[in-house]
């Protein structure tokens, strides 16, 4: 059988659509240049960086005790954080889905799920140090413990768990809601106790989902740069070791090889998560719940669970609130009152805060529409069109999800500081705002693409086909049908990209040059120097910006969003 004619015709039809062809070509070029190439150059560097091909660089870095220690440290932290986050996330999800919560507790849950989205990644490290450190409000002034050391393993574990468990909570909540209540009712009906129902029905159904949540957190934890940087002390993880290797030891080949090691770990985890667990989760929990769940009213269950979770939530919220308050203390660790606005004033008068905010804001503002549009285009191509390079586009844009920011940062340094393959071509973009924008785009692309793909899968394929059939070309179809139908997803992608960009640090800290000041980098610097009040002041303003962006988006969607009245259909 020869399918050549059909394939040739499909190709001809595609070529008859110049906008589409251009888009695909540009997209492939972009993905290759800014995702594949930097990773490839890391491989090249680590195998031939010292002049001859071989494993000599790997042998060298594995002989460094600091590096092997960093590997075990990273895995130890990732493992514990993954387990703790998944379990705490499950507890919150279970309580929200199964227990009738009062308004107050419900509100707390919502805030907790929101906070990590709008705040920069290392805020909790700051408040951890301020609350529980040597000069911490709680440890020193309430409990009179004078030598509490928050730096190191437990500091990272606690901070990362508090940062990542809300993500698990949101993931598991969605899955629990999909469990058909009649399954559990059947078990109850046959005589199982509530505990037995949980262990014999709910938990087994949730296992793949829990595994999924664990791995996602594991990857996040391994890739996390800012928290280990601030609260890790001498306890180095892979991300910080790579950073120090390149900024402190100027060992670029060594850093590249380390980045390859880190990348291999996250890629392996990602492969398991994506191809094994995700499929399994979907297989066990697909159907929609057939009816409304009977919520647990039993006070002996309800009250302790609600109190426990509410206290936890309050604690997390307090950690976040600590940041703006910390920015108002006159002298951290000595004088707490009267509260002062001098740090905020100093941010702008002494430390060029205005420029930092302007740079961060403008670069993120440029990056977010590009990211949002790009991810919608990729989703459209992946879900609705068929062409040869589709698999490549999908795979590479998802691959970016598994690449830790630090790895990408090192890849960009190696890949662009001397031009493409060290030839000087494109060298011009290194050190400019452009490369920062590109990093922002690449870092946010996977999330946007993911949400775009799931939004597009909801839309009947024949709607676009009908427009095509009526005479619209691909560009027209995309602009008049696809985009309006996924407007909400586009808008939220816009804001997510903005928030992610303005709070990003791991990759940009390696790429930023003195001509650009980024808020997150400033916060990191002041925190390193121990100037916590200034760091808090910067962080507070940042949170205000991101939170306003999210609020604005919600307002905008409420007013102009289409999906709501479409969903009633």
């Amino acid at each position: 059988m020869a399918r050549s004619q059909g394939a040739a015709l499909d190709r001809k039809k595609l070529m008859a659509d110049p906008i589409m062809v251009t888009t695909i070509v540009v997209l492939i070029a972009f993905l290759t240049l800014f995702i594949l190439y930097p990773l490839a150059i890391l491989l090249v560097d680590s195998f031939v960086g010292d002049g001859s091909f071989g494993f000599s660089i790997f042998r060298r870095i594995f002989a460094m005790p600091s590096f092997t220690r960093a590997i075990t440290n990273t895995l130890k932290v990732g493992f514990v954080v993954g387990i703790l986050s998944a379990l705490i996330g499950l507890l919150y999800a279970y309580v929200e889905v199964y227990v009738r919560l009062n308004k107050f507790a419900g509100g707390l849950f919502k805030v907790v799920s929101m906070l990590p989205v709008v705040s920069p990644p290392f805020v909790l490290s700051l408040s951890m140090i301020m609350l529980f450190g040597k000069a911490g409000i709680i440890t020193r002034f309430l409990l009179h413990i004078y030598d509490n050391n928050v730096y190191g393993y437990w500091g990272i574990v606690i901070v990362q768990t508090l940062t990542f468990f809300p993500v698990c909570y949101m993931m598991l909540k969605g899955l629990l809601k999909n469990i058909d209540p009649s399954l559990e009712e059947a078990a109850r009906d046959m005589g199982a106790s509530r505990m037995k129902v949980f262990t014999s029905v709910t938990l087994p159904l949730m296992l793949p989902g829990l595994g999924n949540a664990f791995l996602v957190t594991f990857i996040e934890s391994i890739a996390d740069f800012a928290n280990p940087m601030i609260i890790g002390g001498s306890y180095d993880t892979l991300a910080t070791t790579i950073y120090l290797q390149i900024t402190g030891a100027y060992d670029k080949a060594g850093a590249a090889a380390m980045a390859v090691v880190l990348l291999c770990i996250t890629l392996a985890m990602f492969a398991v998560q994506k191809y094994y667990l995700e499929a399994k989760t979907a297989a066990t929990l697909t159907g929609k719940a057939s009816r409304v769940r009977m919520l647990i009213e039993d006070r002996s269950v309800k009250i302790p669970l609600t109190i426990l979770c509410s206290l936890g939530a309050l604690f997390v919220i307090m950690m976040y609130i600590c940041v703006p308050i910390g920015a108002c203390f006159p002298t951290w660790g000595y004088k707490f009152f009267p509260l002062t606005g001098k740090w905020f004033a100093q941010v702008f008068t002494k430390y060029r805060g205005l420029k930092a905010f302007k740079d961060s804001f403008v670069l993120s503002l440029i990056a977010s529409p590009i990211t949002a549009l790009l991810s919608m285009i990729i989703s459209y191509l992946v879900v609705k069109r068929k062409f040869k390079a589709k698999g490549f586009i999908e795979a590479v844009s998802m691959l970016a999800m598994a690449v830790p920011g630090t790895v990408l940062g090192v890849g960009y340094i190696r890949g662009f500081s001397g031009g493409l393959f060290h030839t000087g071509i494109l060298q011009g973009i290194y050190g400019t705002g452009l490369i920062l924008v590109i990093v922002f785009v690449v870092r946010s692309l996977p999330t946007g693409t993911r949400s775009g793909i799931s939004a597009l899968r909801q839309i009947d394929k024949s709607i676009e086909e009908s427009a095509y059939d009526m005479g619209a070309d691909s560009f027209k179809v995309f602009m008049t049908v696809t985009l309006p139908l996924i407007k909400d997803s586009f808008l939220s992608g816009l804001v997510t990209a903005f928030v992610r960009s303005i709070t990003a640090i791991s990759a940009v800290i390696l790429l930023v040059t003195p001509s650009y000041l980024l808020i997150t980098v400033q916060i990191n610097e002041f925190a390193e120097k121990g100037a916590f009040s200034l760091a808090c002041a910067f962080a507070t303003i940042l949170i205000v910006i991101t939170y306003s962006a999210v609020l604005l988006m919600n307002l905008f969607i409420k007013r102009f969003g289409t999906s709501k009245n479409l969903k009633e259909d």
Binding site: M1, A2, R3, S4, Q5, G6, A7, L9, D10, K12, K13, A16, D17, D460, S462, I463, E465, S466, A467, Y468, D469, M470, G471, A472, D473, K476, T480, V481, P484, L485, T562, N565, L566, E568, D569
Partner: protein, 358 residues
């Protein structure tokens, strides 16, 4: 619509798909040649997986044939993208644009063709009048019933005045009653406009009610093409006979010939029917007998035994055994007729002219 009517011609069309599980390639449509006359209403009918929808989607341009050429009128259209083809499709799911109201949905194709504003308004209103949706222009599509959505989809396809109208099982999402009234409606509109229409369905009564010609497809090939009467009374094989209406198959060896009349031995009883020229004595043949063409009597036909007797209102439903062959029949208007009970031995009687030899 002063446009010259165009027909559609498929010239040795094949489409090969790959089974996603086994990776094996198979023909979804195999070496199919068809001619659809301008202005006619043709139905592609067949069980699911027979290739009818694939054929339609190749005509629309969504799929590309792996072999052969498709012509619209005299023009080969293989290389044209769907938006460049002079066809319009009515989708199974209606596929209305949910963010547009009725008017904008219908006007969509005209706007793409850069038709002037006033003319758009005029043509949209005229077509909405034709599908009896006047006054509904401002409604959003999710405020319409299924039947109304179907009419919008039809209006949207008609308004761009395509040469060929394509229907992909458009009525399958409607309830039974609405389905019947909508199909009359579709036929009326097609006749009024005089447009060439190709209609895919798996519902034989829909095909019967709508079509000038029916094309029966099975396993990727055309089993038979003809008017509804031809297909019902003269099916070419058992598949067609069985697929259209109910059919009983009586098998027998030919034992003699007398001019046009041949004698067949059916389960030990001789049966005289009008034969075909190429029939030979000693060969085995299959007869098609429609359930409504036979009746039961005490004697005078093929001896049989009743195994099911069931009152259905307008008819009495019987299953009888003639030898080892099960025959289903419908005795219409059974009120003043003798009703046979299960276990009765009687005779299967029919007019020899009403059987068809395969």
């Amino acid at each position: 619509m002063e446009k010259v009517k165009k027909g559609v011609r498929l010239d040795h069309i094949s489409k090969i798909y790959q089974d996603p599980k086994t990776g094996k390639e198979f023909y979804a449509v195999k070496d199919t040649s068809l001619t659809i006359e301008p202005g006619s209403f043709v139905t592609l009918l067949g069980p699911s997986g027979c290739g009818k929808t694939t054929t339609l989607r190749m005509i629309a341009g969504f799929e590309s044939p792996d072999e052969g050429e498709i012509y619209l009128g005299d023009e080969p259209i293989n290389e044209l993208t769907p938006n460049k083809r002079d066809t319009a499709m009515v989708f199974q799911s209606y596929a209305l644009l949910p963010h547009y109201n009725v008017f904008d949905n219908v006007a969509y194709g005209l706007k793409l063709r850069k038709v002037g504003k006033d003319e758009i308004r005029e043509r949209v209103l005229k077509i909405l009048d034709l599908v009896e949706l006047s006054g509904m222009e401002a409604r959003m599509t999710n405020q319409l019933s299924g039947g109304q959505q179907q009419r919008v989809a039809l209006a949207r396809a008609l308004v761009i005045e395509p040469s060929v109208l394509l229907f992909d099982e458009p009525l399958s999402n409607l309830d039974a009653k609405l389905r019947v009234s909508m199909r009359t409606e579709i036929r009326r509109i097609q006749q009024e406009v005089g447009i060439t229409a190709i209609y895919v369905t798996h519902d034989q009564s829909e095909a019967m009610a709508l079509s000038d010609n029916i094309i029966i497809m099975n396993k990727g090939v055309v089993a038979q093409m003809g008017t509804p009467q031809e297909i019902y009374y003269h099916p070419v094989d058992e598949f067609v006979a069985d697929f259209i209406g109910e059919a009983n198959f009586l098998r027998g060896k030919m034992t003699g010939r007398d001019g046009k009349q041949v004698t067949l031995d059916i389960e030990g009883s001789p049966l005289q029917v009008e034969g075909k020229d190429d029939m030979e004595i000693g060969q085995e043949y299959t007869l098609v007998l429609r359930p409504e063409a036979a009746t039961l009597a005490d004697e005078g036909g093929l001896p049989c035994e009743v195994v099911l007797s069931c009152f259905m209102g307008s008819y009495q439903n019987y299953h009888v055994k003639v030898g080892d062959t099960l025959v289903k029949l419908e005795e219409h208007n059974p009120k003043n007729k003798k009703i046979y009970a299960v276990g009765d031995r009687c005779s299967l009687v029919f007019d020899p002219r009403s059987v068809h030899i395969l």
